[in-house]
């Protein structure tokens, strides 16, 4: 091979490269996409979990939305929490709007003990499939199926199924209230509630809308819609609809009167210290509530 062929090849390729570079230069000028540089800055601050908790498809979409909106009203990153929201606010020079911190709670206590199984399911391990097939092992039409659709939906490893109760348990430390499990549960048992002062919460841990006797037949801790809690509440935080009580976490003052009043134990308190008389008697062990 003579040297002239190598030189010719280098010259031709070099010429092509120069022409292409010139074309690319003008094309990039003509079709330049002007993007707010702050979007990248904000996106870098976000947790990049793409959990969808903010209501957008991913963190990048959220960053675009927040830069475009120019206000943080109604835009919140539950996964990142306070620190991320403050950092984003600082970058954009906006005032941080922080909602009441929330957490997911499971509104069912139908464990093997309280709601014994009446049939046995051995199909595909998917709540939504089992829900489309039959009423569930405990025969409660609203109860937890225990097959873990919520566990699989969680991006933060914050839910696990308790071996004893076969109910999902939410890890208070890890849950960021993104709401993925709320969407995953075919029986709508997971609810996002206010975290409450010192992590203390009171809620009705049942979704059964059957009449009292029918509900009680399948589960001993079901809400029977008796309305006792309604009368006990001094703050009008409790409403009764379709044989089911509901506590509004915005109005609830955590007085715990309803908890004592509930005849079936469907109202759950969590993270409260044991009551004085209980401590004195040392009889009742205050079990940590399943939430």
């Amino acid at each position: 091979m003579s040297i002239s062929i190598i030189l010719l090849a280098a010259a031709v390729l070099g010429a092509i490269a120069i022409i292409a570079a010139v074309i690319l230069y003008f094309v990039s000028k003509a079709f330049r996409v002007i993007e707010d540089p702050r979007i990248d800055e904000v996106a870098d601050l976000l947790p990049a979990a793409n959990c969808g908790g903010c209501g957008f498809a991913g963190c990048r979409n959220f960053a675009e939305a927040i830069v475009k909106a120019g206000s943080m009203e109604g835009l919140n990153c539950p996964a990142g929490g306070e620190s991320v929201v403050n950092a984003v606010a600082a970058v954009l020079g906006l005032e941080a709007v922080l909602g009441e911190p929330q957490i997911a709670v499971v509104r069912c206590q139908g464990s093997c003990e309280f709601a014994p199984a009446k049939s046995h399911y051995e199909g595909a391990p998917s709540c939504s499939f089992a829900n489309s097939l039959f009423v569930g092992e405990s025969a409660c039409p609203n109860g937890c199926l225990g097959l873990g659709d919520c566990v699989r939906s969680c991006n933060f490893d914050a839910i696990y199924i308790d071996d004893m109760t076969k109910l999902p348990v939410i890890d208070n430390e890890k849950c960021v209230a993104c709401g993925a499990c709320v969407k995953a549960c075919p029986r709508m048992l997971v609810e996002l509630r206010n975290k409450g002062k010192k992590d203390r919460r009171i809620f009705v841990s049942c979704r059964n809308t059957e009449k009292g006797a029918a509900a009680k037949r399948n589960c001993s801790v079901a809400c029977i819609g008796c309305g006792k809690c309604l009368k006990a509440c001094a703050f009008e935080a409790i409403t009764l609809k379709n044989n089911l009580a509901y506590i509004d976490s915005d109005k609830c003052k955590l007085c715990r009167k309803c908890v004592a009043e509930c005849p079936t134990g469907a109202i759950v308190e969590c993270n409260f210290p044991p009551k004085k008389e209980q401590r004195a008697a040392e009889e009742i062990v205050n079990e940590p509530a399943n939430n």
Binding site: K118, S119, H120, E122, G123, A124, S126, S128, F129, S132, L133, F134, V135, G136, A139, P141, E210, A214
Partner: protein, 441 residues
């Protein structure tokens, strides 16, 4: 021997009750009639608490387009109308009737004589089917009169009668053919008149030679009715597969058989149509095979609707170790979650399975052997659809034809790794269907 072209499996037949004649099950002391025993909208009760009803009296009217009337299977007093848990445990509206005597409506002809001449006109026959609450007794319980409301631009070329009975264990269709063959053929004549079809083909699987011989002999008097033996293969009795086997026509995806000029009905339905059209008798009974490998006294019963399932099971004795009881056949039937439920239209079998038989096997990883693809009679790829459904990728499910699945379960039956293929495909089909409907609205 003719059959459908693609796929299919050969489950163990286990037709133990072939030689057991149909016995009439005693009338219980109380019946519970669900208002939704058919595909479509539940019927609306037209009786009240305390009303006295006779056998064959209308108790709930099907008012929607796809709905069916429900008649009292007993005489007595309506005790209450309230939600009762059905076989799957869901609460459904039901009419509870306390039985007193056995008084029938006067218009019902109870004589054993066979009336061969059909005097009613086309419209009268369709209206009688509707009034008598006849539904398809092959399993889907689709209201029969709806099939005969043929759109004006369509013509029916064939009336196909499904006597394949491809599900293992079940023998009611076979027994009906043997014991009530004549009536069935008259019923088919009435249906031919109602549909305007020139010819009816009865497809019978070749494992029922007696029935083929018997019907062929009887059909000599009916020149428009032809018997076609079919090769034994599951799911021969599925509508689309039967159409392909008998007429070599293919129903387009998402369309009804009428699109290719065909109406399909089950053989037991033809007997119900005979009783309705010629005897004025509404559908108040179900033919049920009570069977299982370990059951000593296997039976074919004719059961009044609303009879407690436990009564039926106790009459043959539930064997020890029974783990699963299925309403319908082992391939497409549904496991009963609530045994305190009641007989409904189209409950063709009560099948008791013990521990070993009901065990679905340990689920292993997919081997990529492709057997599910080979056996799928609709030409789908269960190996692909199952993970798509598991990951909630409904749009891709739709693209891969999940809505064409007939839920025959051949894929899951054949899977060497025991993967829950049909379970997830059903879930996918349900959710994809919802997605498509939402898109239309």
């Amino acid at each position: 021997m003719i059959t459908f072209k693609k796929g299919g499996v050969h489950p163990e037949e286990n037709k133990f009750t072939n030689s057991n004649p149909i016995e009439i099950f005693p009338i219980p002391s109380q019946v519970t009639l669900f208002t939704g025993q058919h595909l479509g909208v539940p019927a609306v009760p037209v009786v009240d608490k305390g009303d006295v009803v006779k056998v064959g009296q209308l108790v709930a009217r099907g008012e929607a387009f796809i709905s069916a009337n429900i008649h009292s299977p007993v005489s007595g007093v309506v005790q209450k109308i309230e939600p009762v848990a059905d076989a799957l445990g869901h609460k459904k509206t039901a009419i509870v009737i306390n039985v007193e005597d056995d008084v029938w409506e006067e218009k019902i002809d109870r004589s054993p004589d066979i009336i061969a001449t059909i005097t009613r006109t086309k419209e009268e026959i369709i209206n009688t089917m509707k009034d008598c609450g006849i539904v398809g007794l092959g399993g889907a319980c689709f209201p029969v009169h709806v099939k005969y409301m043929v759109p004006p631009d369509k013509k029916v070329d064939y009336l196909l009668i499904n006597a394949a009975e491809c599900e293992p264990y079940i023998t009611t269709d076979y027994r009906v053919m043997i014991e009530h063959g004549k009536e069935c053929l008259i019923g088919i004549e009435a249906m031919l008149k109602a549909s305007g079809a020139p010819v009816a083909l009865i497809g019978v699987e070749n494992n029922k030679r007696d029935a083929i011989r018997h019907l062929t002999k009887l059909a000599k008097d009916h020149p428009n009715i032809k018997i076609r033996p079919l090769k034994v293969k599951y799911p021969q009795g599925a509508e689309k597969q039967l159409i392909q086997a008998l007429t070599n026509r293919r129903v387009p995806a998402g369309k009804l058989p009428i699109e290719v000029g065909v109406i399909v009905n089950n053989i037991t339905t033809t007997f119900a149509v005979y009783e309705a059209v010629q005897k004025n008798k509404p559908l108040i009974e179900t033919f049920t095979t009570v069977t299982g490998k370990k059951v000593m006294e296997k039976r074919n019963y004719r059961i009044r609707l609303g009879t407690p399932i436990m009564d039926v099971l106790n009459s043959v004795g539930i064997p020890e170790n029974t783990k699963k009881i299925i309403a319908g056949g082992p391939m497409m039937g549904k496991a009963i979650a609530n045994l305190n439920s009641f007989a409904v239209k189209g409950m063709s079998s009560l099948l008791m399975m013990d521990d070993a038989e009901s065990y679905r096997g340990d689920v292993a990883n997919c081997l990529r052997c492709g057997r599910c693809v080979t056996v799928c009679p609709m030409g789908l790829e269960p190996v692909l659809l199952q993970p798509l459904a598991e990951q909630s990728r409904w749009e891709e499910c739709e693209k891969n034809g999940i809505m064409n699945c007939i839920e025959c379960g051949s894929c899951q039956f054949e899977c060497p790794a025991n993967r829950p293929l049909l379970d997830f495909i059903r879930l996918g089909k349900h959710n994809t269907g919802l997605m498509i409907r939402n898109r239309k609205n």
